[in-house]
């Protein structure tokens, strides 16, 4: 997928995450954005490009939401680290494994963001 298309998708996600999703589906704010980051990492299989893109997008999201620098970038890197570890012990190739690792990455992202927010 082209980078500009990913950027447009990210902007759309960040927009509807704050306005439409919490109102219509009762999602917690930033829920969809975190899923987007996890899917981005999984899609690029935690390549250098995917990591740089994810870092840039999470940096933008921090700026957009007025968060401390690192509140989203560090959890993103933590979930990327989780993917690395899973890749090391399991053969993450099949669809089921990708979904499971995605869920684990999401939980790691979520919990780390809470931890980082407390530290920062």
């Amino acid at each position: 997928m082209k980078t500009w298309l990913v950027a447009v998708l990210f902007l759309a996600v960040i927009f509807i995450d704050g306005i439409i999703f919490p109102a219509l589906f009762g999602f917690r704010e930033s829920f969809l954005t975190i899923i987007f980051f996890v899917v981005l990492l999984l899609y690029y299989e935690v390549s250098f490009r995917g990591l740089v893109l994810g870092t840039a997008f999470s940096g933008f999201a921090e700026f957009y939401w007025g968060l401390e620098f690192g509140t989203l970038i560090l959890p993103l890197l933590a979930s990327a680290g989780a993917f690395f570890l899973l890749n090391r012990f399991f053969n993450v190739r099949s669809g089921v494994f990708i979904i499971i690792s995605g869920v684990i990455m999401f939980i790691v992202f979520w919990e780390t963001s809470i931890l980082v927010a407390k530290i920062l």
Partner: protein, 249 residues
């Protein structure tokens, strides 16, 4: 797609953690990664888009209108009061102070009201309080720095010499709490009938021609020297928000 090695990942992680550490503890959150001008621009744009519908401006205008309405209402009231008092203030040779009543205490022990004027406005004890229509309210009992207590006309301690209009019948009016007032020392031969108006005589410390009340009930008993005359205070039929204080001293 170029695979990311563990080493590259940890270098990347170290850079980010280092940057966060630098921002948090060395640059002391000066936001070197997000320049302040950019943050301010973002904040400005966000605020602009929030206020796009003009809701805030409308709310501010509405508050201003309410404030002006309140001011106009207050000025109208004051103007009306001053117009009504213009004639009555000319009747007295004493200086007059305009005051407002902010509390009325009707307790079984006595009736009194509180005025929003005190020593700093020149009020002193025994000054007389009347309405814009010339109806007697009471007299100043105690004066504080910026407020004073008025002994209400219906209080048992309150006494004034009064006479029936267009008649020579004179007596002493005293307060009787919930019963209103009583006119004492009216002998059986004195001319007095129900609905007669009573005004102050001016023979005591009160100015003359202040409206006291109207005769409500007369009990005649030939075996007694005096009639029992109950008076309905005129103050019952008037508004008590703004009053005049006649400075006797």
């Amino acid at each position: 797609m170029a695979k990311l090695s563990f080493k590259a990942f940890f270098i990347f992680l170290a850079i980010i953690v280092g940057a966060v550490f630098l921002n948090k503890y060395i640059a002391k959150e000066e936001l070197i990664f997000y320049p302040k001008s950019l943050i301010n621009l973002g904040s400005y744009l966000f605020t602009k888009s929030e206020n796009f519908s003009g809701n805030d401006k409308l709310k501010r205008n509405q508050e201003l209108v309410f404030s002006l309405q309140a001011k106009i209402d207050n000025l109208e009231n004051e103007n009306d009061f001053l117009r009504r008092t213009a004639r009555i203030s000319q009747r007295f040779n004493y200086p007059i102070v305009y005051a407002g009543i902010f509390n009325i205490n009707l307790t079984p022990n006595g009736y009194n009201v509180l005025l929003n004027k005190g020593v700093q406005d020149g009020i002193s004890e025994s000054d007389v309080v009347i309405t814009a229509e010339g109806v007697l309210v009471g007299k100043i009992q105690k004066v504080m720095e910026n407020f004073s207590r008025v002994l209400f006309i219906s209080d048992p301690q309150f006494k004034i010499t009064a006479k029936v209009i267009n008649s020579g019948t004179t007596g002493i009016v005293r307060g009787a709490l919930g019963e209103g007032l009583y006119l004492d020392f009216i002998v059986q031969e004195d001319e007095i009938k129900e609905e007669d108006m009573l005004i102050s005589t001016g023979s005591d410390l009160f100015p003359p021609a202040l409206v006291v009340g109207s005769v409500d009930y007369i009990e005649t008993n030939a075996t007694k020297m005096f009639k029992k005359v109950r008076i309905r205070p005129a103050i019952k039929d008037t508004q008590l928000s703004r009053v005049l204080v006649i400075k006797i001293k």
